[in-house]
Amino acid sequence: MSQFQRRWRRNRTLWITILAMLLLFLAAIRGMETKDWVITLLRGLSVGAITFLVASGFSLIFGLMDVLNMAHGTFFMIGAYVGWTVVVRPDTFIDLVPPVLLVGCGIVLIPLWRHLTRSVKAGAAALRFGPWLWLLAGGVMLGLALAHYPVTKWDPGVYANSPVTNSFEAGQGILALPSPVGFGPRVSPLIVIGGIILGGLAIGLGIALFNARNDPGTGGEGGRGKRPPAGALALGLGLLAGGLLVFIYNNPITEVIFGLNRTWLFVIAGFVTLFVGIALGSVMEITLIRPLYERTIYQIMLTLGLSAIGVELVRAIWGLQEFTMPRPSIFDGTGEGCPATSLADLIRYQCSTVSILGGRVRTYNEIFIPLLGIIVLITVWLLLQRTKLGMIVRAGVQDSEMVEALGINVRRVFTLVFALGVGLASFGGLIGAPSTGLTTKLGISLLLNVLIALAIGGLTSYPGAALGSLIVGLLQQFIIKYGQLGINIPFLEEPFKPTPPLVPATTVLLMVVILLIMPNGLLGRRE
């Protein structure tokens, strides 16, 4: 068999799919004007990229640990709301940084506690009640301290009216800086901050004791670590120092941040949403998913429940208003030189729209989002192909038991991948927000798209996640476009116009057709 034949045989499905998609695409654009199909194509890419940011994590998590994380879309939504808050109300965000870092300090010090408590011999009663006692003490301390900790509060309703104007004014410095909130008259900041730190430490100790109780004999991760965990200690001290610094310099930092333009706020929000997602993901994996690895049905019930809780939590904090997210200011230019007709113009005038082949295309939604999607696609692919972690993940997707038998702590890799997947979804929420807007329904509708995309592309295949997301995005946008243009069908007087409810229906239809022909999706592996 020649090289060519072998290659053809291996990638047959892929080539046929690409060919079919090209033909479909050509058929779809035949009746359209150039500017129409260009814009539809780019919109499809944009929707595909947003879908992919969620689908990739979902598929990696399912492939590696067989967990269908139905809460994945909810993390997208949470990312959008958190990112929105950072961009629109950075003062509140800065107020919240110290307690989060200080509690985080207690949590990351868990390995240190395990190391220290290993040599302590405790009676049965102490082992039984000790962890609960520490958790309770920590919780009470934290609750009391946080109740007296000042956070800037505001009425979300204001932003339902005109968030763009509001943040525009803030960006221009017209909006008066909100007056900083302080501690109540009879509350000592020292006690509150001390309470938060001690509360976090106590909770960390409680969790460490739980671990020790459930996992006796191994004494910490790996059991052979006789050295104190220096990494955890350094990270903990770093978080402590960071939290205290932000607390002390709260007002100057807030002022500086209000002076930044929205592009920088977006960059900050990018890191924050990624971090929030990673933190939420690791906490969720360690505390809730881990005990249920053997019980698939319970996992689905748990993650579905969590997604409902997430929605309610967002409603409780941000209210029922729908928000719009302002774009980063470098994609906001209008006036002279816009819409840009060349790349040089685009960079020079930072136009919000670009003119491509006669169509006006929005820079952020239809150029930046697809580009970012491609960057993430390549980054994750390199991570999977070129690093030891990626090697472990690829091997673990096939047989995680064997990976463990090679002496690799698979559970830790599970946590890491889960955290990164959730982080990516949360980051996707920020990126997608200017295009999708913010509603509490965001997560559910996106999850549906993700599931369809993965069913089409193949549930555990990384390229499949990309291909499926792309197909779903393009198909939806083309159907929407044809809803405006109408399709000329022979023997019909009127052109047929697909109504909006038909849009999700077509993707489901495509999924059904593909699953009938290829039960494992386009690039899925036969199990």
């Binding site: 006796p216 472990i392 002496g407």
Partner: protein, 234 residues
Amino acid sequence: MDRLLAVHDIHTFIGQFHILQGVSLDVPPGSRVALLGRNGAGKTTTLKSILGLTPPRKGRVVFNGEEIQGRRSFDIAAMGIGYVPEHRAIFRDLSVEENLKLAERAKGDLDRKDDFIFELFPDLKRFLRLRGNQLSGGQQQMLAIARALVPDNRLLLIDEPTEGLAPILIEQLIEAIMQLSAQTTILLVEQNFVVASHLAEEYVIIEEGRSVKAGRMEDLVHDQETIRRYLEAA
């Protein structure tokens, strides 16, 4: 110390099924021990229980003087136990090189051992860049064994190495395993009694989840009564 591995009366459950109902065995350092018994007797489960993949609920497993039952598998493996599972569970989507690299416990393990490994299995060196699923069955089996040789393992658990292989490959494999045993201790499961009798010096017979007989292989070869009772198809 006269035993590298000692298993004392372990009981293992898979779901509700009481698979191992008292298996005991000793593996002296430097020896080759074969686990014999009919299909479904619990040989594979015994290997998995030693490694903690199916943790025993009762009983003790002592490796190198330390009790290891109840520890996590990666921890047990890292103490120096290599595992070659049945059905050649190599990683299909990873290249041969990646399969070997993944088994490194310390950076540079593969560089240190590659001369030895490729001398034993020259085919692997030629196909370093191929993916696991592009190898033939025999090559996959060699890769599975080679993978266990990358780190310095003191004990190899080998499950059905010759299953489904052509006779000529079986001969090659026997030779390779014999060469290995100069360096490590081997506990293997083997259905094919002729192969097992060539490979192992000692045997342990498992019947319905219990270890029923152990001794020297050379005695077993002449013990038609035992062979008929425990090993021949019922």
